[in-house]
Symmetry: C2
Subunit: 234 residues, 2 copies
DNA sequence: CTTGACAAACTTACGGCGTAAGCTTACAGT
DNA sequence: ACTGTAAGCTTACGCCGTAAGTTTGTCAAG
């Protein structure tokens, strides 16, 4: 019908690449959420038709895997000679920070097993640090599973409960009617506590840093201390 | 076209209800995965057209919320006079068990904020037990967040890494080629360890109980012990 | 026994999705 | 100028959620 692409004869043709596609998809997800990342919309944002993407991306699944790698690439990796505790702390905080920067990525990190080179090399580094610190395979495995569980679980809760700052009023008003002091006194009490806490920190700092850091740090340190104790006992 | 529904004059007309719809959706998800739960397929499994469901369910979102409630309803709730530690243990194990019985529900539990009556009343009970045990609001909040994070994070990892028993060979062969001893020695070592562990337990017991219980228990106890210590210090 | 009202279930239609198959176009190397 | 090749496009299929409007089955009132 409308052969718009003809006009590209004049403009410089920037060739499509896997990277350009992934970047466009990532920006789209940042702007409009993961649901808006369809082959058609990604293509449109690149001034191209949907099917053209399939030259560089074998399926939508492949595209999503690519997105995971892109986000994983932004996460910090502790130096090989770090102490195991500092390493786990640094990595965990970085994971939390990056996942909150790209909330749409959290569900992808969970649902994909993540055998891309970036995530694998990061794991390699972490396990290496732990093993060199004297952890047995079994205890090291327990450590990684526990910390990973905590970090991902925490981030999910954080993102579920209070979406983004602008959504917060809506989230509260949605739950408030059903959570009355009469019916659920304890939940109500805790809800009120949380709201106050959020309110305190609401004015300064993005939601990434708002109020949750302390709770994150608390749980994380508690887990790491527990493993330290277990190590010393042996 | 084919007016099959006419034949219902003869058969006893079981009236559609919200419960029948949710149950059908749940069974469908158990059998063919969450992706197969579309309005059309749920309707078909009830011998009805898609649009008929909208009399009992306001949208697909509403249907998914209903599914969450159904699953939540199957989880155990500790008695009001339980000790806080036993309560958290019982609840956590029950959550893990039920979520592994309906793996498709895990992602729903995360992504929906869960202000349905079932989940709220369960929370109410748990917070109540914790507060009566002497936890301050803040420490109680930390406890719940930490344990919740761990439980959900653990279950996600468990489900992501080894899907179902029949998928396991595929999952392994998918990751094996990329995980070589040369490139990722530490990951390889741990992967081998995990495979052996799974192999041990593969013959007896469903995947719900296969190999992971020990690691779940380990991390969970470690967290609870940590909080116990914190309580005593104060 | 007929009628009419009401609710339950159905039909049609729209715009969006992922992607299979095949086609057009632009350009590089001869 | 000619041709091979690969980048990008077009068309089409069967799914999806759901808005709007229509038919059908049941049952109470006349």
């Amino acid at each position: 019908m409308n052969k718009v692409h003809r006009s590209n004869n004049l403009a410089i043709r920037i060739p499509l690449t896997r990277e350009r596609i992934l970047l466009a998809a990532s920006e789209l997800a940042d702007k409009n959420g993961l649901a808006s990342v369809s082959m058609r919309q990604v293509a449109q944002s690149l001034g191209v038709e949907a099917m053209s993407l399939y030259k560089y991306v074998s399926s939508k699944d492949d595209l999503l895997d690519g997105l995971v790698e892109i986000v994983a690439f932004q996460m910090d990796v502790p130096a090989l000679d770090s102490g195991w505790k500092e390493a786990m702390l640094l990595r965990s905080h970085s994971e939390r920070r990056i996942l909150n920067l790209h909330p749409w990525a959290t569900s992808l990190f969970e649902s994909r097993s993540g055998t891309g080179p970036t995530r694998l090399s990061h794991q390699e580094r972490l396990i290496g640090i732990i093993r060199r610190a004297g952890f047995s395979i079994e205890l090291g495995y327990n450590l990684i599973v526990a910390v990973n569980s905590f970090v991902y679980g925490f981030v999910i809760q954080e993102q579920t409960w209070y979406a983004s700052p602008e959504d917060r009023p809506r989230a509260v008003s949605q739950s408030r009617p059903t959570i009355t002091n009469d019916e659920y006194p304890y939940v109500y009490e805790m809800m009120t506590f949380i709201m106050a806490k959020i309110g305190e920190n609401a004015e300064f700092g993005s939601r990434t840093e708002a109020g949750y850091v302390a709770n994150f740090e608390f749980g994380l340190k508690l887990i790491l201390d527990g493993f330290e104790r277990t190590m010393q006992k042996k």
